[in-house]
Amino acid sequence: MILKEGVYVSDYELLPESPLGGVEIEMDGFSITEVTDKSLVMVALPREKFSEVESSIDKSCGLKLPEIERSAHSKDSSITLWRLQKNQVLAYFTYEGNDVEAHLSSRLSAPAYYTDQSDTWAMIRVSGQRTRDVLERICPIDISPEAFPVGGVSRTIMEHIGTIIFRDGDDSYVLLTMRSFGRSMLHAIEVSADNVL
C-alpha cells in the first residue's frame, strides 16, 4: 500500500490502453487515425420525459436535440450528441476523468439515464479525398454527400462488424465498432485502401 493524498491506496498503477494503440496510417489521399481523445456516454430518454430532457439540454448546453440520424453540438462545441434512435442519444465529447457519467449528467442536467460506453467502442477516423472511394467497398449504406450530410450518423454492418458511422467533415468519417472487433475493422479498412488506391 502507498499513501496517496493522505489515503492509503494499492501500490499498483493501472495504465490505460486505447483499442488500437493510437494507430495512424497515411496513404495517398486517405488517412486512418484512431480517435483516442473522445468519451462516449449513452443517454437513454425515459418515456414520459422527452420534452423535459429536450428543454433541459437546451437550457444547459444551448443545444437542440437532433433528429434521428443527425447530430448537434453544444454551444461551446464541447459536446456532440448523436441521435441514434428516438430514445437513444450517444454523447461524444472530450473528458479525461474517470467519472464520465457523472460529468455528463451534470453538464446536461437532464433527467435521463447515463451509461458509459467510452471503452466499448474502437473509434477510427478515415479521412481524405479518396475516403468514399475506399469506404464504398465495405459500407452498404449510401454515403454520397447528398445522402449522408456532415453531422449525419447511422448504423450499419461493415465486413460483418456492426458499425456506427459519423460524418464529421467533408471527407471525414468516424467509424465505431465494438472494441474487441477493432483489429478486424482496421484490417478491413486497410484492405479496402490497398484494393482501391
Binding site: 492509503y8 499498483y12 495504465l15 460506453q117 467497398r137 465495405i138 452498404p140 472487433f181 478486424s184 479496402s192
Partner: protein, 987 residues
C-alpha cells in the same frame, strides 16, 4: 505467316502487337482484340471439342453468349476453365488451351463417342447402360462421369483476391450500346445520379461492330464521343467490363466488374469486384442476341452467326474466311455480305429461306432465294455446304442468321415471362418486369436502330422525370431507318444428318423431337430431359430455336410453348467473387479479449468461442499434454488462487424505474426485492417453458441492474430483452445497453482470492467476509482510484470474485493481479479448467441448457416462482413438462475409478443404458451432457440426464459411446461432486 486473316482498320490498335499461346502454339494479335478475334485472325477455327460427341467445334459468336469457344486460360493455380474466348480481352502472355479432348485437339481419342451417337441421345442414361444391374455403379456410371464435365480445375486454392462494393444511383442503365448511351445522355443531363454499365471492355455495343452512321459519323465514333461526354459528368459513373448479372429485391442489382488487367499488373489488387448496386430505377438496354437455324451438320468449325462475322470484320478487322457464304431468314443477314465486300472479302453465295426478291445486290455472290442449307462438309474446318436444291457450294465460312432475340434475361429475374411477338418472330418482355425496370431498344423488341435510339433518348428523360429530375432539351441522335424483316425459320428436315440446336450440351433437333415423342410436352421438361439450355451459356443462342422446333413438333404456337425460367446469374460468376474477402482469417471477424496480449506472452493455447479467441489453457515449460496444464490449473486454483478472463460473458446494463418488474417477467425467480448491493442467479426460459439462458444479475442501485449471460447467448439474450421491451411491455420504463465490451472482467478464485484482491482494491472498500458476503456486488475503486465493480460470485465453487474495470485498464489489471498474486502462487487458468471446476461443482452450462431441458429437468424446479407470471410460466405448466419421470440432470461417476483413463477421453456424449440392455435407441435412458477428468476426485465424472434421475441416486447404469467404442458402468449420484455443502464459498 501470322495473322493471315487480318485486314486493315477495325477498332484495334495494329501498332500494339500482343503475343499469346493456344495449345502451346505462339500466336500474335493486337491490343483491343479478344482471344477469339485473335484466333480467327490467325485462321484458327478449330477451338474445342463438343461435350458429348467430341465433335470438332469453332467460334460461333462475338459475345458472352458463345457456346463453343470455351477454353482454359492461364496455368497453375490461375487456370480458369470454361472461359469464353469471345469476351476474354487479349493480353500479352495469355495462355489458352482447348477443352474436352483426350490427345490433341485435332485428333481427339474421345471422338469415338460420335459413332455411338444413336445410343447417346436425349436421356440415354435412363434407357441404356441398364444391364447387368451391378455394372451401373461400378463401371457405367464412373465411365460416364469420367467423360462428363466441361473443363478441369487446377485443384489449387484460388490465388487471386476478390472484393465487394456497394454503389447507389438514381438510374442504372444496363448496356452502353446505341440505346443505352442515348438514355444515359438524357438521364444524366437532368442531374440524376446515373450508373452506366456494359459487359464489354469497350462501350458502344453493336455500334462498334456495325457500319451504320449516327449523326453522320461512324457509329463507333459517335459511341466514343458519347462515352467521353458522360465520363466528364460528375453525376455519372461508367462501369465497363461489368456484367449486371442479377436483378434482386428492393432495387438491388448484382454487378461483376472485371479488373483482371489491374490484378495482372499488381497481384495484390482484386481480380474482380462484385458490386451491389442500389438503383431507384433501371433501364435495360441489353440489345438482342442472334439465333441460328437448325440444319444438317450446322456445327462445323467455320459456321458462325452472321452478326458475329460482320463484327469480326468491322471491329476486329478479321476476315472469317476467304470464300464466305451467308444463310439467312431476314434482311439483317445481307448486311454481313455487304460489310465483307466493303473490306474486300469474297462472298460466294447468299442463301435466303424467304421467297422474296433479293434484298440488295452483292458483287460476286450467287443468290438463292426460297432456299435452305441442308448439309455441310469438312470435319475440322468447313469445306462446303449443300443446299435444298441439291447444289453444293465450296466455302470456308458460313454466316448464319435465324433472326435476333431480344436479350430480355434480366426482365425475367423476378419470375417474369416474356410474350411472343409475331411481327419480329421473337419473344419480347411483357409487363411483368422487376419493379423499377424499364426496357428500351432491341431488348424490348424495337429492332430498328433509329426507333431504338429515340426510345432510349425519351426513356432516359421520362425515368429521370419520374424521380423528380428535369432533363435538358437534347436532340435525339439521327440515323437512317433500316427496317427489320424476318420470317421465322427453325430449320429444315435434314434426313440422316443431325441438326444441332444447343452446341454446348450437344443437343440436336432430333433430341427435342424424341423428348416430345416420349411424352415430354412442357418446355421445362424438354429442357431437363434433353439438357437443352443447361450448359454454361444457358442456351442463349439455342433456347428460342429449340422452342421453335418444339412448337412445330407439337403443332402449337410459340406463345403456347413458352420459355423456361430465367435465373441469375446472367453469365457465369466465379465463386470467388461471391466469397469476396471471406477466406482464411477474414472468413469472419476475430474478437480479442483484454488479456489477449498478456496471454500470448504466456504462450497460452487459444480456442475459438464464436468469434472470440479465449485462452484455453496456459502450458508451462515441461508440460507436453494439455491435461497436465489443465489439471495443474484446477489444483492450484483450488489450493490457492487462479485468475480467468471472463470478459466474453454478456453483460447487459439495465436502468429505469421499472427494471425490477421487467426482470421478474423474464426470470423464473424473483428479482423485484433484490437488495441494492446483491447479486442473484437467474434462470430464463423460452415461451415454451424450456431453459434458454442463465446468469447472475446484480442490483447496483434502485433503478440500476447489471445482468450477465453466457458467452454464446450474449447477443440472443440482449435481443430477447429488447423484444420484451419493445413489443411485450413497451410501457415499462426500462433502458438497456450492452456493456460486455465496456468492462474487462476477471474471475479471481480460490482460498487466497480475497487476499490477492485486498492488494488491488483501495483500502476504503472493505471486502472482508462480513462486509462483502457471498453474492455481494458493488462499485469500488482499485489501484488508486480507478473505478471498478466487484461481484462475489463463484462458478468454480471456491471463494471467488469477479472484478471488472473499464476495458482500457484490462491488460494492466491482469498484470497487476499476477504480480500481486505472486506471493500466493497465483495461476492463470483458461476455459478448460473453468469447465472442469464448474462440472466438479455441478453447475449447469451450455450443454445442459440445450433447448430440450426445463427448469425442473435441471434440478432448479425449486427456483421457479409460483407467485408471478414470467416468460415460459404457462407452457412450463404443461403436463408433459411436469412429469416425474422426465430425463433429469444428475451426476455420473465410473464404478471403476480408472475407467477411460487409457482411452484418454471422457464420457461426454455417451448414452445411458441399463446394465444388461442392448445398445439400441429403444433402450436409451438418457445421455451424458458434460464430462471431464476431475483432478479433485481422481477420475472421470459427468453431468447428464437420465429418466427419473432424481429418484435413482445410487443406481448403476452403463455409459455407452458407440463412436469412440467405450462402455463403462457408472453410478448415478449428485451432480455436486465437490464441496456439496458449499462451505468453501462462504469463507
Amino acid at each position: 505467316m501470322s495473322q493471315t486473316h487480318r485486314k486493315d482498320g477495325g477498332l484495334i490498335d495494329q501498332d500494339k502487337t500482343l503475343t499469346f499461346t493456344f495449345n502451346g502454339q505462339i500466336l500474335r494479335g493486337y491490343e483491343g482484340d479478344t482471344l477469339a478475334s485473335a484466333l480467327l485472325a490467325n485462321n484458327k477455327h478449330l477451338v474445342g471439342r463438343s461435350f458429348k460427341y467430341h465433335r470438332p467445334r469453332g467460334i460461333v459468336t462475338v459475345g458472352s453468349e458463345e457456346p463453343n469457344a470455351i477454353m482454359e486460360i492461364g496455368s497453375g493455380a490461375h487456370k480458369e476453365p470454361n472461359t469464353r474466348a469471345t469476351v476474354t480481352q487479349l493480353y500479352n502472355g495469355l495462355e489458352a488451351k482447348s477443352q474436352n479432348h483426350r490427345g490433341p485437339l485435332s485428333f481427339d481419342l474421345m471422338a469415338i463417342t460420335d459413332f455411338f451417337s444413336p445410343m447417346l441421345g436425349a436421356g440415354f442414361y435412363y434407357k441404356t447402360f441398364m444391364w447387368p444391374k451391378a455394372f451401373w455403379e461400378k463401371i457405367y456410371e464412373p465411365a460416364i462421369r469420367n467423360s462428363a464435365g466441361l473443363g478441369t480445375l487446377s485443384k489449387d486454392p484460388d490465388p487471386d483476391t476478390y472484393d465487394k462494393g456497394f454503389r447507389y444511383c438514381d438510374i442504372l442503365i444496363i448496356g452502353a450500346g446505341a440505346t443505352g448511351l442515348s438514355a444515359a445522355l438524357t438521364a444524366a443531363s437532368s442531374g440524376a445520379k446515373v450508373i452506366l454499365a456494359d459487359e464489354d471492355f469497350l462501350m458502344g455495343g453493336r455500334l462498334n461492330s456495325e457500319t451504320a452512321k449516327i449523326d453522320n459519323i461512324k457509329g463507333s465514333e459517335w459511341a466514343k464521343s458519347a462515352v467521353e461526354k458522360l465520363s466528364a459528368m460528375d453525376n455519372v459513373t461508367l462501369m465497363s467490363d461489368t456484367t449486371i448479372f442479377g436483378v434482386y429485391d428492393h432495387g438491388i442489382y448484382g454487378a461483376l466488374e472485371n479488373r483482371s488487367s489491374e490484378s495482372r499488373a499488381d497481384s495484390n489488387k482484386p481480380r474482380q469486384v462484385n458490386w451491389r448496386i442500389y438503383a431507384k430505377k433501371s433501364i435495360l438496354c441489353a440489345g438482342a442476341i442472334e439465333r441460328s437455324i437448325a440444319f444438317g451438320n450446322n456445327d462445323r468449325p467455320g459456321i458462325m452467326l452472321a452478326g458475329a462475322v460482320r463484327a469480326y470484320i468491322n471491329r476486329f478487322a478479321v476476315a472469317t474466311g476467304n470464300k464466305v457464304t451467308v444463310y439467312t431468314n431476314n434482311d439483317d443477314g445481307w448486311q454481313t455480305a455487304k460489310d465483307l465486300r466493303s473490306n474486300g472479302v469474297n462472298v460466294v453465295a447468299i442463301i435466303d429461306s424467304r421467297s422474296i426478291s433479293p434484298v440488295m445486290p452483292v458483287q460476286g455472290a450467287e443468290i438463292f432465294m426460297g432456299t435452305d442449307v441442308v448439309d455441310t462438309k469438312g470435319r475440322r474446318a468447313l469445306k462446303s455446304i449443300t443446299l435444298s436444291n441439291g447444289k453444293s457450294i465450296s466455302t470456308d465460312s458460313l454466316a448464319v442468321s435465324g433472326g435476333w432475340n431480344p436479350n430480355l434475361h434480366l426482365t425475367c429475374h423476378h419470375r417474369g415471362i416474356p410474350k411472343w411477338n409475331e411481327e419480329i418472330a421473337s419473344f419480347i418482355p411483357d409487363e411483368s418486369t422487376p419493379p423499377g425496370m424499364s426496357v428500351a431498344g432491341r431488348a424490348k423488341g424495337t429492332m430498328v436502330l433509329s426507333d431504338a435510339m429515340k426510345e432510349g433518348h425519351d426513356l432516359g428523360a421520362s425515368v429521370a422525370s419520374d424521380l423528380g429530375y428535369t432533363s435538358a432539351d437534347l436532340k435525339a441522335a439521327s440515323t437512317p431507318s433500316v427496317a427489320y424483316n424476318v420470317v421465322a425459320n427453325w430449320g429444315v428436315p435434314s434426313g440422316k444428318n443431325r441438326a444441332w440446336v444447343d452446341f454446348q450440351n450437344d443437343v440436336t433437333a432430333k433430341d427435342v423431337r424424341l423428348a416430345n415423342q416420349e411424352g415430354f410436352k412442357s418446355v421445362e421438361h424438354v429442357k431437363r430431359y434433353t439438357t437443352l439450355g443447361m450448359a454454361t451459356d444457358q442456351g442463349k443462342t439455342a433456347n428460342v430455336l429449340g422452342i421453335g422446333i418444339m412448337a412445330e413438333n407439337m403443332g402449337q404456337t410459340m406463345e403456347e410453348t413458352g420459355t423456361t425460367i430465367f435465373r441469375p446469374p446472367y453469365s457465369p460468376v466465379a465463386v470467388g467473387a461471391f466469397a469476396g474477402r471471406r477466406r482464411g482469417m477474414e472468413f469472419y471477424p476475430t474478437r480479442y479479449t483484454p488479456s489477449h496480449k498478456w496471454s500470448e506472452e504466456q504462450g497460452a493455447v487459444f480456442v475459438e468461442v464464436g468469434m472470440w479467441y479465449r485462452s484455453q489453457w496456459f502450458p508451462q515449460k515441461g508440460e507436453t499434454h494439455w491435461r497436465q496444464s489443465v489439471d495443474r490449473e484446477v489444483l492450484k486454483t483450488r489450493a490457492s488462487v487462479g485468475i480467468c478472463d471472463v470478459t466474453t460473458l454478456g453483460k447487459i446494463d439495465i436502468k429505469g424505474s421499472d427494471v425490477s418488474e421487467f426482470l421478474n417477467k423474464v426470470y423464473v425467480n424473483a428479482f423485484a426485492k433484490l437488495p441494492v448491493g446483491k447479486t442473484r442467479y437467474g434462470l430464463m426460459l423460452r415461451e415454451d417453458g424450456m431453459a434458454m439462458d442463465d446468469g447472475t444479475t446484480a442490483r447496483l442501485a434502485e433503478d440500476h441492474f447489471v445482468m450477465t449471460t453466457t458467452t454464446a447467448n450474449a447477443v440472443s439474450v440482449y435481443r430477447h430483452l429488447q423484444f420484451c421491451h419493445q413489443v411485450l411491455w413497451p410501457d415499462l420504463d426500462v433502458h438497456m445497453i450492452s456493456v460486455t465490451e465496456q468492462y474487462a472482467q476477471y474471475a479471481v478464485a480460490g482460498p487466497n482470492s480475497r487476499n490477492l484482491l485486498q492488494k488491488i482494491v483501495d483500502p476504503e472498500h472493505d471486502i472482508s467476509n462480513e462486509a462483502f458476503p457471498f453474492m455481494g456486488a458493488g462499485a469500488i475503486t482499485v489501484c488508486g482510484g480507478i473505478p471498478a465493480r466487484l461481484f462475489r460470485i463463484s462458478f468454480s465453487g471456491e471463494l471467488a470474485y469477479e472484478i471488472a474495470v473499464p476495458t482500457r485498464y484490462g491488460d494492466s489489471l491482469m498484470r497487476a493481479m499476477m504480480e500481486a498474486g505472486e506471493e500466493f502462487d497465483v495461476v492463470p487458468y483458461g476455459t478448460e479448467a473453468l469447465g472442469v471446476m464448474r462440472i466438479e461443482k455441478g453447475h449447469a452450462a451450455g450443454p445442459e441448457l440445450n433447448g430440450q431441458t426445463s427448469a425442473h429437468d435441471l434440478g432448479m424446479g425449486g427456483m421457479v416462482s409460483g407467485k408471478k407470471d414470467f416468460i415460459g410460466y404457462k407452457l412450463g405448466q404443461r403436463e408433459e413438462l411436469l412429469r416425474n419421470d422426465r430425463m433429469q440432470m444428475v451426476g455420473f461417476k465410473p464404478v471403476n475409478k480408472n475407467a477411460l483413463v487409457d482411452n484418454g477421453h471422457s464420457m461426454a456424449g455417451a448414452h445411458l443404458l441399463g446394465l444388461r440392455e442392448e445398445a439400441t435407441t429403444h433402450n436409451d435412458q438418457g445421455w451424458i451432457s458434460s464430462s471431464i477428468y476431475s483432478p479433485m476426485l481422481g477420475c472421470y465424472i459427468g453431468l447428464g440426464f437420465i429418466k427419473d434421475g432424481l429418484n435413482r441416486k445410487g443406481e448403476f447404469v452403463r455409459a455407452v459411446d458407440l463412436v469412440r467404442n467405450s462402455d463403462i458402468e457408472v453410478e448415478i449420484c449428485s451432480p455436486h461432486f465437490y464441496d456439496p455443502e458449499g462451505g468453501r464459498l462462504r469463507v
